[in-house]
Every structure is written in C-alpha cells, then in structure tokens.
Symmetry: C3
Subunit: 348 residues, 3 copies
C-alpha cells in the first residue's frame, strides 16, 4: 500500500493533525512503529507509546486529550480500533487475488464451476459438484461428489469436503479442516465388537461462516449437521454428528461438541470446553474455557467449570478450593475441641 495521511483521513472521515502528505506503506503496532508505518491507539494503557513511537501516522480516538509532544501525523476518529480494522480490510481487499485454474487440477466433467474462480494445482472437484462464482479453491483441496459451494467462498489448501455436503456463500475454511467425515456411531454386539452405523446425512455450513484450520465436522447419521449463518469456529474444534449451531455463535480453539447437541445463537464456547451429546444450549450463553457441560443451559447464562455450573458460583468455590488444606486442618481442630470439651463436661 502507499497512502497519504489526507487520503486516509478522507476515507475515515477523520480530523487530520499534522502533515497531510505523510506517506505510509505498511501497518504496525504503535509500540513497534517505524517510519512509513500506520498505527492506532485505542487502549489507554498504550498512550505512552504515542509520545515515543516512530510510526508516521497514528489513528487516535477523537476524545483523547494529548498530553505531550507527538511526532507522527494524527488522524482523530470516533473509534480508532474500528477505523483501523476498516483500513486493514480496505488494504486486504486490494492485495493481489488468486484467479484462474492451475494445472494439474482435477475437475470432473459433470461438475459446474462459476465464473471468476481460482482452482489451485492438485485441487479436486468431484462428480456433480456445483461451485459458485468467485470461489477460491486452493491446492490440495478436495471437493467431493455432489458438494455445493456458494459464491465468494474461500477453501484454503488441503480442506476436505466429503460428498453431498453444502457450504454457503462468503465462507472461509482454513487449511486441513474436514467437513463431512462419518459421525462416530457404532452398535456394540454381544461379542463386544462394534458394528458401524452408516452415516448417511450431510453437513450444511450456512453463509458467512469462518472455520479455522484442522477442524473436524462430522456428517449426520441422517439429516444434517448444521453450522448457522455467521458462526465463527476456531482451529482444532470438534463438531460431532447431528450437532446444530445457531447464528453468530463463536466456538474457540480445541473445544468439542458431542452428537446431536443444539447450540443457540450469539453464544461463546471458549477454548478447550467440551459439551456432551443430546443437550440444548440457549441463545446468548457463554461457556468458559475448559468447561465440561453435561446438562441443558438456558439462554443468557454464563457457565464455568467441569462439570460446568453458574460461573459466579464456580468462581467463589474456586477461591475456597485453594484453602482446602487450611479447612481440613481447622476441621481437625474443631474435632479435638469438641472431644476435649465433651470430656470436660463429662468430668464436671
């Protein structure tokens, strides 16, 4: 990129303080700024860097009172973090985009591929697959038979989508993620051996979903495992068969959701949490990191711990937990006190 302070201030509708011709070519954190970089200051804890940074331009909140000498050109905006994010987005949208079809790739003759797509070398598009417009299918990606991919979706290298699954528009799936592997379903026989229950359903990923790297989402036994519109899933997450997740829910790294569990909209499942199967989590629920959820949770609740309970109660119990050796010692003292006392009473 190569922008002047004036161009940025105009784009952000911000107030410019300093030289309008200052040029920046990249972005940096304010504490790592150097000549030619653009930074932002949103967190007051970082204000000190405003007076020492070598960044050429800094975005600041309009209501910040500057208490010192500032070298960079400043652009004052309502929300420096959001303004910066929108600049990053503008910048990212101007980066060179992959397009065209690299060779060798494998596109079945019955597959339909929209216009403006990128098909990387060694990508595989199966029989009757339907790929939308402006889709990016990176190298080593597997799009199975009958899979549907919506417009503008990006499948990074090595994504594997099993036959029959559907991914919506404007989705991003990162490298190594697997969509549609068999659900973990077996019937145990009298000889203790297991018989596989065929998994005949699919996975449906709705629009605007982002899925991190090395995620596993299993196909339903029947029907569909469902990832709702706008939901964001981090790396190494496990979603079992027949799980249904609502809109705009966030599932953070290494969390796992067991079979047939239903999660509402606008929830946050924090890192390394686990949910058992066949439960229902209401809307707007927050589940803390490393929690183990084994029961339904009603909407708007915050839960924590393994087993997960109300976060407030859990936190209070954890404070006392550390004092257990002390409690145990005191209990011994009470026992002795009561014993001595009873003896004294008896003697009287």
């Amino acid at each position: 990129m190569n922008f002047t302070a004036k161009m940025i201030a105009d784009f952000l509708k911000g107030e410019l303080v300093g030289n309008p011709d200052t040029v920046v070519t990249e972005v940096s954190k304010i504490e790592e700024g150097k000549a030619g970089t653009l930074s932002f200051l949103a967190n007051p804890k970082y204000e000190k860097y405003l007076y020492t940074t070598a960044s050429s331009i800094v975005l600041i909140n309009r209501d910040l009172s500057v208490n010192g000498t500032v070298k960079p050109t400043l652009i004052k905006v309502d929300d420096a973090y959001k303004a910066f994010a929108s600049l990053l987005e503008l910048y990212a949208s101007n980066l060179p985009q992959k397009s065209g079809t690299e060779q060798p790739s494998y596109i079945h003759s019955s597959a339909v591929v929209g216009s403006g797509c990128y098909i990387g070398a060694f990508a595989y598009v199966g029989e009757q697959a339907v790929i939308g417009h402006k889709v990016k299918i990176y190298p080593h990606t597997y799009v199975g038979d009958g899979v549907k991919i919506g417009d503008n979706t990006i499948l990074y290298p090595g994504v594997k989508i099993y036959q029959g699954c559907a991914v919506g528009a404007n989705c991003i799936i990162h490298a190594g993620s697997v969509i549609g592997s068999d659900g973990f379903g077996f019937a145990q026989g009298e000889d203790m051996g297991f018989k596989k229950i065929p998994q005949l359903g699919i996975v449906i990923v709705e629009d605007d979903v982002e899925i991190g790297s090395n995620v596993s989402i299993d196909r339903a036994t029947m029907g569909a495992t469902l990832i709702g519109k706008g939901t964001k899933i981090d790396n190494l997450v496990q979603i079992a068969h027949n799980v249904e997740i609502g809109h705009n829910t966030v599932i953070i790294s290494q969390a796992g959701v067991a079979g047939s569990t239903k999660i509402g909209k606008n929830c946050v499942i924090a890192a390394q949490a686990g949910l058992v199967g066949h439960i229902k989590i209401g809307d707007n629920v927050i589940i803390g990191a490393q929690s183990g959820v084994s029961n339904n949770i009603e909407e708007n609740r915050v839960c924590l711990g393994s087993p997960a309970i109300d976060a407030g109660i859990q936190k209070k119990a954890l404070v006392v937990f550390k004092k257990l050796p002390d409690i145990y010692r005191k209990i011994g003292e009470f026992e002795r006190y009561i014993k001595d006392h009873a003896e004294n009473e008896r003697k009287k």
Copy 2:
C-alpha cells in the same frame, strides 16, 4: 433406494401392519418424517411422534402397544434400532462405490496394488508399498514407502501414512489423519537445547479399526505403536509413541494418550480425557470425559476427574465442591463460636 414395505419386512423378518406396497426412497428421523421416508421408533420418549409423523413406513419394537391412530405402514421387529441400523447398512452397501484409478496419481513402479481398488487423483503410493484388494485410496492420500494396507480398507482424502507402517483389513481412516509421524522424543543437553531421538519404529493398525479425522498416531521409537483389532478412535485424538491399545476399545474425540501407555480391551476413554505416559489401563475400564489419568487403573473400574479417581467418589466430592463458599462461612462461624465460648468459660 426404492423399497416397498413388503421387501423391508421380508428382509427384517418383521410383521407388516398396513399397505405392503408402500414405497420409501429415503430415511428420516421420525420427528422429521415426510412422505416417502422410512423411520424407526426405539426410544419410548418419542412415541408421540408415531401418531403425527408423515413418514410412510415406521419400524417399531414388537412389544410396543400402539395407543392411537397411526397413518404410516408399520413393521414390527424385535429391536427397531438394530433393524434400522441393518437397513442403513444394506442401503449404504448399495450406494455407488468408487473404483478405478483417476489421473494424475502416483504409484511407484515397485508398489503392489490388489484388484478392485480405487486410487483417487493425486493419491501417492510409495516404493514397495503393498495395497490389498478392494482398497479405496481417496485423493491426496499419502501411502509411504513400504506401507502395507489390508483388503477392503478405506483411506479417505488426505490421510498420511508414513513409511513402514501397516494398516489391517476392513479399516476406515478419515480425512486428515496422520499415521506414523515421529514420536516426541528428545534428550536435553547441558545447554538446554534438545537432541532428537530418532523414531525408528512403526505403527500397526490391526483389522476392523476405524479412525476419525485429523487424528495423530505417532510411530514407536523402536517396535510398534499398536491399535488393536476392532478399536474405534474418534476425531482429533492423540496417540503417542509406543502406546498399545487392546481390542474393541473406544477412544472419543480430542482424548490423548501419552507415550508407552498400555490400554486393555473393551475400554472407553471419553472425550478430552488425557492419560500420562508409561501407565497400564486394565480391560473394561471406563474413563470419564476430561479426566486426567496419572496412575495405573485395574480392570473393570470407572474413573473420573483430573486427577482421575473412582467415579463414585469424584461425583460425591463434586456435589460438595459447589458448597465450598458455604462451608468456608460455617468454618468461620465455628471459629467465632469456639473463641466466644472459650472466653465465656474463662470469664466464669
């Protein structure tokens, strides 16, 4: 599929109630039934759907007493769930099967490939590899030098099997799983740097094993990491070097087993559990979700918690755990009581 009620009843040796010519073309859950689908009713909780479902045929248990008007054709069998599973299996076995060799694929001239195999585009079969009959090797799968794969085994897209490892017959390995990566073995030098211990062993996966997606199973330092016959491993599981797992054991998603640990047969290691290295777990042991096991466990035990203890003791302790703030308050009261009392005694 396209089956009549009569065909299904004959196959299942069930009793037909209703129109023998009723045709079904797919399966559905009873609560999501529609015309042309086949459902089953096994769990009494779902009985109400029997009287409202739009499914065309429903399998029910022979001993169910029907208390209402039922529209679908019924087929009465001893065990509706198992009967349904066997129908799914019949159905699945009739789905079109992949076969032949897609191009480009890479099969080393010294590799041996059995008859009736499917070799997907971009599949790699290394030097001296030996592939059995009717094996399916999906696109982007890597079968390293000297690897042996038994008959009827399915390797889904992107499976990676390092050199020298062996996979038995009738196995299924899902996308992205890695068999035979180096065990995590290092010797620390005086400079705090680590020297790699070469991992010269292999992984042996016996017959009838299913391995989920994105699983990691490390090769042994010497000898073999062993996955016993009939064992089922879910997604994102970690199996370290020199682990040995018995027959028909189940390891659920995101669980991890550290180096050289031995697990018996018919065990269940639930989701997100972790086992330290160099311990021994007896046969028929159940380890609860998110447990942390740091000691040997004798056969037939049920363990829970981190650190894992007897599940009954753990559950009782967890009930009290929530009351810790209350306990702590009461302890304070006792202390005050004893202090006051002692003072009163002194005053007397």
Copy 3:
C-alpha cells in the same frame, strides 16, 4: 544396518565384554530382544531383563554391577541411554534419503529451490518462494507464495504453509500441520454479526524447531507469530495469532496458547494445558497437564490446575478434595453439636 560389537564399542568409546564379532542388524527394547538386535539398559527397573534377553548386544552403564549370567555381548559406556540415542542417530543418518523431484509437482517459475532438495509428487511451491539447500518437501505439501524455508528442513506430507511465512534451517514439520492460517479476530457489530479483522502478519519459525502433526499456528494480525529457536511442539497443538515463544521451550500434545501470549525460554507446557491470551510466562516455567493458565507466571515457577496455581498448593488441595463428602458430614455434626450445646446452655 549391519554392525559388529567391535565397531559399536569403538564408535562409543565403550568397553567390550564378550565376542567382538557379534553382529546386529536392528535395535529392540531389551524386554523384546531377539537374535541380531541391539538393546540398552539404563533404567535399573529393567535390570532383570539383562539376564533373560535374547538381544545379541546390550549397552549398559559402566557403573552397573552385573549380578548374574549374561548371554549377550555387553558394551559398557558412561550413559547407556545417551549412547543408544547417538547410535540411533548414526543409524537414522545412514537410512536412504529421499532426493530429486517427483512428477507431477508444481514449482512456480519465480520460486528459487536450492541444491540437493527432495520435491515429492503433488508438492506445491508458490510464487517467489525461496527454498534452501537439502530441503525435503514431501508429497501434498503446500508452500505458499513468498514463503522462505531454510536449509535441511523437512516438511512431511500435507504440511500447509500460508503465503509470506518463514521457516528456519534444520526444522522438521510433521504431516497435516498448518502454519499461517488466519488469526481468530473479529469485531462484533450492533447486529451481533461479526466482521473479520484481516490478518496481515506472518508466522516465523526459527531454526532447529520441530513441530508435530496436525498442529495449527496462526499468522499475526500485524507483525509475526514467533516460534523460537530449538522449541519443540507436539501433535495437535494450537498456537494463536501474535503468540511469541522463546528458545528451547517444549509444548506437549493438545495444549493451546491464546492470542498475543508470550512464553519464555526453556519452559514446558504439558499436554492439554491452555493459556489465555495477552499474558506473559517467564523463563523455565513448568505448566502441568490440563492446566488452565489465566495470569502471568514469573520465571522458574511450577504451576498446575485449572485455574493454574502453584503446583505444591494445588496438589495439597487436591488431596483434601477427595475428602469433601467427609468434611461436609463433619460440618453437619459440628452444627448439631453447637446447636445442642447452645440449647443445653439455655436450659441450664
């Protein structure tokens, strides 16, 4: 391999007891020894096997006093385990090494590839990528545009390195690992929907790093996610955006580190532990398995538990935890005692 006892003793500068012409062709554990194998005895617990093993040669510690009849040829060294490791290394370095370029592979015309490299079939090397000398890029590996790979580094099958990232010399990255996927960064709008924060940074992996299979390391929002020289990362580990890890730190399987957290040198993060974002872990810190770390930790500390506290305190509390039902019962007794006592006092 095919070595005589004399050759091995000379290489190790060890003392030979027995037939110098004894030949070994492979290595084995002492308890699984057979004719023609070389074993070692380091752990005194295994001494009994010295008198029963069928191994042809056994390395022992010079200070071991042999108390029985020994059949194998012995080689006495200062440290049998280290000596054995160095033999493994010698052996491994003599195994046949992959070299040359298999077809079809994809190397962009603008990429630079050093001498003595192995480029497997279906490997992808992007625009402006720079590959050092003697690098091994196994099949299905993706080296994105502008990626730099140092000399002697091994990328096992299916590794995915996103554009712009850098991997140092003498590194090993195992199958399925993803370097440089987008950090998990979103800004929530008033409609509860999420807007992606573009992730414009990279990942830098320094020299001598080993990364296990199916690991996810996210690129920085700005700047770089950094894996320090000599650090070893096990399978299925999650490293979020802008994390920085010092030299010679060990992160064991299925652990996760959230965004912007900084970890010092010579630390051990044990299996399935989780660290929240934006914290600082000092040098030489040990974090126990399944711990959940939510605060800064000063150097040289050992922490355990979720939430993680000093390991000594945690262990003492855990001992008492099991006794909670007992404690609760006693508290009930005290309450009754005090109540009865107060009543008696009142009656007096």
